[in-house]
Amino acid sequence: MSDIKAIDCDVHPSLPDIKLLLPHLEEYWRDSVIERGISSLETAAYPPKAPLTARPDWRGDNGYAATTAAELAAQVLDKWDASYAICNCLYGVQLVFNEDMARAFHRALNDWIRTEFLDRDARLRASIIVPMQNIEYAVEEIERCATDRRFVQIMVLCMQETPLGRRHHWPIFAAAERLGLPIGIHAGSNYRNPVTSLGWPTSYLEDYTSQAQGFQSTVTSLIAEGVFAKYPKLKVVLLESGVTWLPAFLWRFSKTWRGARTEVPWVDRSPAEIVRDNFRLTLQPFDGPSHPDDVERIIDHLRSDDMLLFSSDFPHWQFDGDARIPKGIPEGLRRKILVENPLATYDRLNPTPARA
């Protein structure tokens, strides 16, 4: 552990062309891609040319960033001296409506990540992308990929067709707990619902900033439905969620729970405690105040040193320069954020994991 200098818990390989998935698709779906002219499944959550989607100095000649393991190695692992980086591919397979097609594309994407990234650099790890279009398919995909220990987490998008905590989603939580894999909830939507409770917003800025609302609703749902009463060991990592909304959200949710907890008797302790025990958050996009003293205050509001995990969110353009940790975050937390918290969260990154 002492040789590990940093673990980047959220990087995004990009798939520049759907044809790259063809070798990983069964024949029927390969033919479908060609005969039906399925040209792209890229998601509107990250319009390919939007400034946020990739920092200019990280884009290649084709406009895409992070398309190969070599680019990730040079721009993430070497630059930030990261011993590991966890690949969370955001290609929009979650948006597909046909559930059989969704299964095929999820399998292909996981296999593409395995062969093009994990097999090419020993420092890379990945999340299993799961087809929530059909919960049985989702569990099947988790079990298929989990045998490869370089898959360290299960990843779903923040905004789902129905709130994530709903009971029909529980088979994936059961699988996650059984396999010792955290559930990573990443910013994004399958766009079955508008991204705000006021419908479809005018601007992409509203779409992206509404992710923080999505995370709050999702945390509320997971706790209120009783997921942690049923699966107390389940770990949840909020990926690209932002950080500073969490404390005030917990004030509110915990207070409401104190007043109305008769409705959810299985929630037998404060949501704030459950979140501190079972939830972790990645660092970027760090949405802090401009003054470092205020940053220190808001970090103090988290009331835990264990919750933040280092992430660059590469290649998303969340910051300029090369500093790994934003200004104002106390020195004493650096090692926790960069190494210790990620290792405590991702069992499979440990040289001697608790669960073989």
């Binding site: 923080a212 609703s217 509110r252 109305a260």
Partner: protein
């Protein structure tokens, strides 16, 4: 149990000059009769309300108490909580020696009804009932201009009708409406509010026709209540990113019953991403947090309760002590008692500003 039993025994040593910015008078159906045409009265009797959800007589999420009310707020004379002026005086206005109360009438005002003309008729009637039954006999109570926001032209007419009438303190909208509040269709409402010199109060609640969360409908009331704060962030983001405050520089917005702790983090987040992608919204000329600081006020209830009370003070400082308005939410179950709700370490000056000073300035109350 949510038992709230207040005894009128507290000795008043200091006058706090409290302005309660969120009181819910219960307007009674029979009071509407005199202010609705025969046709709309008959419509109300026959078809009732159709408020963009499926329940004919009640709400999608059952409340945690009957009428979402304090158990002790049922008037001894009978009737619904919040329906009896003399009992409201006894339990609220006199007990806490309040200077003013701002009335925010909820159901049955017809706001957000699927029939916009009916909503317009109900809004007019709601405003008449507030005057006749409440702010007429009780000068401390100020009315809110209920508007049929899904029929903005009619809303504009209603605001113009009430402009200059000092018995009205603000224009009243709900937080969950058919489109985000900054969208063009609602601009006539803001135009009229600015012309009338009235702030726009946006109170948690209502039905937009969209699911409560961006992952669809949740299961529990506890989620709905938590969502009031979460959803309000989209309201604020829309108003700022649509450039509303460049267009209406005197527009003042009051966020009611959605807490306030979330506001600083929202400002930081909006600033961060606006900085990166401001070319998408060229009409937004300044960092979002600046509009937030200049154009928005928040009401306190339900008062934020952090495990460390000083964290709430941080949030208040980031928002601005001059922007925070005290509110009880009487007669609802999550009522905040003016004597115990505020964090103990506020200075006397901050306390007085929050209790009433800020509201008096904002609403032009003497």
């Amino acid at each position: 149990m949510n038992m709230e039993v207040r005894q009128p025994l507290r000795a008043q040593k200091t006058r706090y000059g409290i302005v309660d910015c969120d009181i819910h008078p219960k307007l009674l159906m029979e009071d509407f009769r005199a202010h609705l045409s025969n046709q709309w009265w008959s419509h109300l009797q026959t078809y009732g309300f159709r408020p963009r959800h499926g329940f004919a007589k009640t709400y999608p999420m059952p409340k945690i108490t009957p009428q979402a009310a304090r158990r002790d707020a049922w008037p001894p004379t009978g009737g619904l909580p919040g329906s009896d002026l003399s009992f409201m005086r006894e339990q609220l206005l006199d007990l806490y020696d309040m200077d003013y109360g701002i009335m925010n009438p909820l159901t049955p005002t017809g706001q957000g009804d699927q029939n916009p003309e009916f909503s317009a008729a109900m809004s007019f009637a709601s405003n008449e009932v507030q005057l006749a039954k409440w702010s007429g006999p009780e000068k401390r109570l100020k009315a809110s201009v209920v508007v049929p926001y899904e029929h903005p032209e009619a809303a504009q007419v209603e605001i113009k009708r009430r402009a200059g009438d000092k018995r009205f303190a603000q224009v009243f909208m709900l937080s969950r409406i058919a489109e985000a509040h900054g969208r063009r269709r609602y601009w006539p409402i803001y135009q009229a509010a600015v012309e009338a010199g009235l702030p726009v109060g946006i109170h948690a609640f209502g039905y937009s026709g969209w699911p409560l969360t961006n992952s669809g409908w949740p299961s529990f009331y506890i989620e709905e209540v938590t969502e009031h704060a979460i959803g309000q962030a989209a309201v604020v983001a829309s108003m700022i990113f649509e450039g509303l405050f460049e267009r209406y520089r005197d527009l003042k917005v009051v966020l009611i019953e959605c807490g306030f702790g979330w506001l600083p983090a929202l400002g930081w987040r909006l600033d961060k991403h606006w900085e990166r992608m401001r070319d998408e919204v060229p009409h937004v000329r300044r960092p979002p947090s600046e509009y937030l600081r200049e154009h928005f006020w928040v009401s306190t209830q339900p008062m934020e309760e952090a495990e460390d009370p000083d964290h709430v003070i941080d949030a208040m400082r980031w928002i601005g002590f001059d922007r925070i308005l005290f509110a009880t939410d009487y007669p609802h179950w999550d009522f905040d008692d003016p004597f115990v709700a505020l964090p103990p370490s506020l200075t006397e000056e901050q306390r007085l500003a929050i209790y009433g000073g800020n509201a008096k300035k904002l609403y032009g109350l003497a």
